[in-house]
């Protein structure tokens, strides 16, 4: 009944159908239909999921038998939230892009990317993981480069080469690990059982780490990110920030740390330091930005830095916090970018100085924006709070000073997010902004769902925590970094 293959291939079929329908008017409806189907189907996984540490719904068929590659997928407590996140956000993002004149090709790319993402989050075979990793990259490249802003060509090719280089390093590590496994397989479990010596694990660590760090992005591998987020069309930005960067964080949890624990023991501290430097640095820069999308872009670097630090701290609270926060950050950041897109589209500018006083003409937008900003800052009773709190506890358990610096993000985050809110929504309403139209139609629907999620998870986060609890603690027990 719950067949993961079907879940992964619904978007593929959707992408093919949409690519063939091309320019017909039904593209929009179809484009929503397939992700909704995926969402409905993934709910069935949620209901049948047993919240323990085991790998569930496993499916395995031989793929390339001459190379020992199996198409092996499965879901556990850590991947389920991300699978759900993907399937919830994709229809929302598609709905959010209804205001633009996109055709079948655009939606086909989005759905193709969804399939790649699902593959990454469920893969239990390294080759499948790698294929999914790249399969998600190609469509987002085309989305950004086809529908992006002025500098899109230069920016996107940089983004592509950057990430591709990183993933090739990962490919080397994967092939190397494969050759070490007795019987030569690409199975995740057989990678776990390898007990390689410390120097080998050291370079394996770097090969994976650079690949993931570029994707996440962790300082100093982040330089592609602000430009790409700025130039990408807003749907592309939402996909990148909402879902795609979670690939890197998920990779840390599922692949890097359990495979190379000795490598993490040796270089993990450096990784945390980089993550913490990145988050403080990004927070300060975010405060200076004049381009509204860049503020959120840098805030995103800060948030993922916190998550990466929490993961590398490698304790139950940190990891649990990271899993929760991945979901919550996805929801909030999609909301933020959508609100900014609405503002920018109506005003025709991204300049923070030309906005302002929008709360008067658009009270609904202002209210929704406020709630999402609260969520992003991590105020209690919003979704951001639980995750950030757990993350900070985790980092504190690792070391006091790391927690102090990481805690700075909460304060700095509040400062730049409220500045963004204040500059756009509050204050005098300039003349040209007085006829700003409030949100309506699908915009209300999308933002309404996001607000519901923000508040819902904030007030009652227990079910979400419950999903991953067992898997997280088992993983921590299983892999010791000491």
């Amino acid at each position: 009944m719950d067949n993961l293959f079907i879940l992964i291939f619904i978007p593929v079929v959707g992408a093919l159908v949409l690519a063939l329908t091309g320019k017909s008017a039904s593209a929009k409806t179809l484009a929503l239909l397939f992700p909704l189907l995926s969402l409905a189907y993934s709910l069935s996984f949620l209901f049948h999921f047993v919240p323990d540490a085991s790998m569930q719904f496993e499916q395995q068929v031989p793929w390339i038998s001459s190379l020992g590659i199996q198409f092996h997928v499965g879901i556990d407590g850590i991947s389920l939230p991300l699978v759900l996140l993907t399937n919830v956000l994709v229809p929302l993002i598609i709905l959010a892009s209804y205001g633009r004149k996109y055709k079948g090709d655009f939606y086909a790319l989005v759905l193709f990317m969804q399939a790649g993402l699902l593959l990454v989050f469920t893969a239990l075979d390294a080759f499948v993981f790698y294929v999914g990793w790249e399969a998600a990259l190609i469509p987002i490249y085309f989305i950004c480069a086809l529908w992006g802003g002025e500098n899109r060509i230069r920016v996107t090719i940089k983004f592509f080469i950057y990430t591709f280089f990183g993933s090739l390093l990962m490919l080397i590590a994967i092939i190397y690990l494969h050759l070490q496994v007795p019987g030569h397989s690409y199975e995740l479990r057989s990678f776990y059982q390898l007990a390689l010596d410390a120097p080998t694990q050291g370079w394996i660590f770097w090969a994976f780490f650079i690949a993931f760090a570029i994707k996440i992005p962790i300082f100093p591998f982040h330089t592609w990110q602000p430009d790409t987020y700025t130039e990408a069309p807003s749907a592309g930005t939402m996909l990148l920030a909402g879902i795609m960067l979670k690939m890197g964080l998920y990779g840390l949890i599922r692949w890097l740390i359990p495979i190379a624990p000795l490598g993490v023991a040796a270089y993990g501290q450096l990784a945390i330091i980089l993550a913490v430097i990145g988050l403080v640095y990004a927070s300060i820069i975010a405060f200076k930005q004049q381009h509204i999308k860049r503020v959120v872009a840098y805030s995103s670097i800060a948030h993922v830095g916190l998550m990466a630090a929490g993961i590398f701290a490698w304790n139950v609270q940190g990891l649990q916090g990271a899993v929760i926060q991945m979901v919550n950050h996805g929801i909030s950041v999609v909301g933020l970018f959508f609100v900014l897109d609405i503002i920018a589209q109506r005003l025709g500018t991204h300049d923070i100085k030309l906005t302002g006083g929008l709360a008067k003409p658009a009270p609904k937008l202002a209210a929704v924006f406020l709630i999402i900003v609260m969520g992003a800052i991590g105020l209690p009773l919003t979704n951001g709070f639980v995750g950030e709190f757990l993350l900070l506890v985790g980092i504190y358990n690792y070391g006091l000073w790391y927690a102090v610096f990481a805690g700075l993000t909460l304060i700095l985050g509040a400062v730049y997010m409220l500045r963004l809110y204040q500059k756009t929504m509050l204050g005098e309403t300039p003349e040209q902004n007085a006829r700003f139209k409030d949100i309506a139609g699908t915009e209300v629907l999308v933002l309404g769902i996001i607000v519901l999620l923000v508040v819902g998870i904030g007030v009652y986060p227990k079910p979400l925590l419950h999903l991953s609890e067992a898997a997280v603690s088992q993983l921590i027990n299983q892999v010791s970094l000491k």
Partner: protein
Amino acid sequence: MSAIITLSLLAVLLLYLGLFKAKKALLPVSLLGLLAAIVLYSIQWDTDAEPLYSGMVLFDHFAVAFSILSLFITGLVFLLSRDYFDSISEHVAEYYALIIFSLTGALLVVSFHNLAMLFIGIEIMSVALYILVGIRKRDFSSNEAALKYFLMGAFSTGFLLFGITLIYGATGSFDLTEIKNYLIANPHSISPLFYSGILLLIIGLSFKVGAAPFHFWTPDVYEGAPILITTFMSTVVKTAAFAGFLRLFLTCFVPLQDFWAPVLLVITVLTLFIGNISALAQQSFKRMLAYSSISHAGYMLFGILSIGAASAGAIFVYSAAYSIASVVAFAVLILVKRSRGSEHFEAFNGLAAKNPYLAFTLSVAMLSLAGIPLTAGFVGKFMMFSGVLANYHIVLLLLAVLNAAMGIYYYFRVIVAMYFRPADREEVTVNANYKAVLFIGALLTIAIGIFPSLLAGWL
């Protein structure tokens, strides 16, 4: 062997069809001939392969697989030739016949079992090409290309022959089995002649496959020759040369790997960097493809460097992926050049808006050449990388990764031009044959990318 005889007779038949003004029959007849040859080869697949004609040729799985690949790619090239040759020269029949002759040579190269046969095969293959490259008599660049190719080909053949001679001097035989037995029988007292022979063979074969530092002829020749001939050279001829290279080293020289591997390592690294860095700077799509073919030679050398049971399969898959993608790329280039009269990247601007199908197939080909997953090119690269890593050349692989990232930049330039740079242009008309080739090419590229077992299981 019956397939090779069939092809030789086919070429003669084509010449006579040309004499008797049966131009319309040329294409169907040559395609039928190729098909017959493929069938004749496939029948041989599971029979016990014994060296034939006093050990001159051996049609084992290796030979049959590479032969079928060469025949198939030649078939695609022929499909593209409708309307193409007529516009260049009135001697259309000679075109077909010469390509078939060259193909016959290529088939001998992939199935030789005697060094004399390797030499004869390479000569048959090259002599026909010297003429084909220079067939546009009044075009200076074509003349230059032909002369360059001829001189370089003659030089490399000299090296090759000298190498063969030295090996004969050391072992007293041209037969591959005899040479192998010599190495096994005298592991500690191998004649110095033998070592020099190997080095000269490496030089000669590197010329033929276009590996640096013996690559200088490649860009000029590829650019000067008519596009379709370039297609044939960079796919069939290159595949055959690599198959011959591998066959020689796999059968005979494996025990001396410690001696020749470092030499080949230097050649590989040079080839990768020179090919990729030069490709970065190109403004012409055709010339970029020429340099990229050098860099692909570098990747294929991995297969020889990490010589072993898996290398035949890896080179087979790689060359199949590379050849199919190249045919698609050159086919689109022909169409674009026909409508815009230019081979530059700018000529591709805005192609996606007017010809989405054309742009899509070319993108698939470029992604495959760049080695992106779910395309055949990735499977090829993956197998190469696995082979190299199995021999623990991690540093070499890091260099390869660097080059692969560079490759993205220039392969994506054409994608960028097609999709993201708008331009006023007419729709390019695509005739049925081109449509068929592009469709087959893109389909196979993706199919092999998703189900590599289609090819990987052959060898």
